[in-house]
């Protein structure tokens, strides 16, 4: 495309009013492996797909506990994600120390967004190449936010980022109206189903995904592999019964996926 002239510097506008470096940073998020989040009135579940570089290596850590009431799932440059998680942990600890009270997640998200914005307006910096799904509780209930490299943030009922996230988003769009009043376990099941959508036919097992939960009366924690596998087994049986409908649905959504894929080139499997 004809956008190479104005994309060298993050501080250079294109004639159409775009900052290409920021948009390229958002592309980096799309290349990372998928992360999803969904919330009810009282709980939020974060999930991510774990892809290791090779069979010999371990997978990247993509879900971080920020405080007892806040956790984050990342997609994109995990190194940038780690650094931002450290910043978030620091802010939470400092607030807790001064006020003996948890930092409201809405305020943390704004601070994070302002930090990202700075990198879009300095010639000696580059935007963070990571998208963050921030899950947290505050006085007004459970919240799920998405923080962009552009410095924007949005609140969501459910969202998915990273490669093949469109499949998960399609699933979530179908189901999201039930999420507000869903039970914690149903929410986790929906998260696993959404992750399965991004795997495009690959078997869903607890070794390829990570799930974390935070809710009222339940501090943020990552579920252990055994528990996750049990939940997968529990609904796979149900899933098989729905087999024909699910398969038909998946084929329909797979075709547009492939069409888009051919245009962009094959998305790499690892981050």
């Amino acid at each position: 495309m004809f956008r190479n002239q104005y994309d060298t510097d993050v501080t250079t506008w294109s004639p159409a009013g775009r900052l290409f470096q920021v948009e390229y940073a958002m592309e980096a998020v799309k290349q990372g492996s998928a992360a999803i989040g969904l919330r009810s009135k009282t709980h939020i579940v974060l999930g991510c797909v774990n892809k290791a570089n090779s069979e010999l290596s371990s997978h990247q850590k993509k879900i971080f506990k920020v405080d007892d009431h806040i956790g984050v799932a990342i997609a994109g440059l995990t190194a940038d994600g780690r650094v931002l998680s450290r910043y978030m942990r620091n802010e939470c600890i400092n607030y807790s120390f001064t006020y003996e009270s948890p930092l409201p997640v809405g305020r943390l998200v704004v601070q994070l967004a302002d930090k990202a914005q700075v990198c879009t307006q300095r010639s000696w910096k580059r935007p963070y190449g990571v998208g963050l799904l921030v899950a947290g509780l505050d006085e007004s209930g459970a919240h799920l936010y998405y923080n962009c490299p552009s410095g924007n943030y949005f609140e969501y009922q459910a969202f998915a980022i990273g490669s093949r996230s469109q499949a998960a988003k399609t699933y979530l769009e179908r189901k999201f109206e039930n999420f507000t009043d869903a039970s914690r376990d149903d929410l986790v099941k929906d998260a696993l189903m959404a992750i399965r959508e991004t795997l495009q036919g690959e078997t869903l097992k607890s070794s390829v995904c990570t799930i974390a939960v935070v809710g009222v009366g339940e501090p943020f924690h990552i579920l252990d592999q055994g528990t996750v596998q049990q939940m997968i087994d529990a609904f796979e049986i149900v899933g098989e019964q729905e087999g024909p409908d699910a398969a038909a649905g998946q084929e329909a959504s797979a075709e547009p996926e492939q069409g888009a894929g051919a245009g962009e080139g094959v998305a790499p499997m690892d981050i």
Binding site: F97, T98, Y99, E100, S101, P104, G106, R107, D138, S140
Partner: protein, 245 residues
Amino acid sequence: MNFMASKQPENSLLGPEADSQRTLYPYVTGTSVVALKYKDGILMAADMGGSYGSTLRYKNVERMKAIGKHSLLGASGEISDFQEILRYLDDLILYDNMWDDGNSLGPKEVHNYLTRVMYNRRNKFNPLWNSLVLGGIKNGQKYLGTVSMIGVNFEDDHVATGFGNHLARPILRQEWHENLSFEDGVKLLEKCMRVLLYRDRSAINKLQIAKITEEGMTISQPYSLKTYWEFSAFENPTQGAVGSW
């Protein structure tokens, strides 16, 4: 022999010059503050006196102020330091309100913030010479705590500063109970304030009682307590006195 006098850098805390930079003694002071939890929130009482040493100089000093929507702060000690603290809290509440996001600092948060401020000043040998009482109620949760000038802080069902600790707390320990009605709470506070009036020489007979509930803070108009002086020992002080030498 003239030895070179050792020179301190300008900003050191040693030497006589440095003393003008930090608080050494209080000048205009307020005396006790007494507070207790009752059914709907917190009740707090303080007189309106500002003493200048042993002179009862200022008689219209409001030593209790509302902080944000949920808290009430009462202070004894140096009045100018109390005013400085009110400025800090003003900024704090302002920034909290500017977020405009449905979250707000409650009494627990304000109490802990004040503890940090007082303790940090104490560590720099430049204290804010106050004993503070912070009470409030948020989402049905009542909170009552105190911080001293050296940063000692705790919460309790009833607290007092200064002389109040010695004269009022014993009364409260005997007579306080959960879910006091407003009238009983006021009666109990007045009982404490009366004892303080009799026995604390920096107390004056002009007090206010403030209450804070979910609806907000209200502070009474200044009024005075009835006292009794008709003791025969006062009417005839020298009766039965043994003469000197």
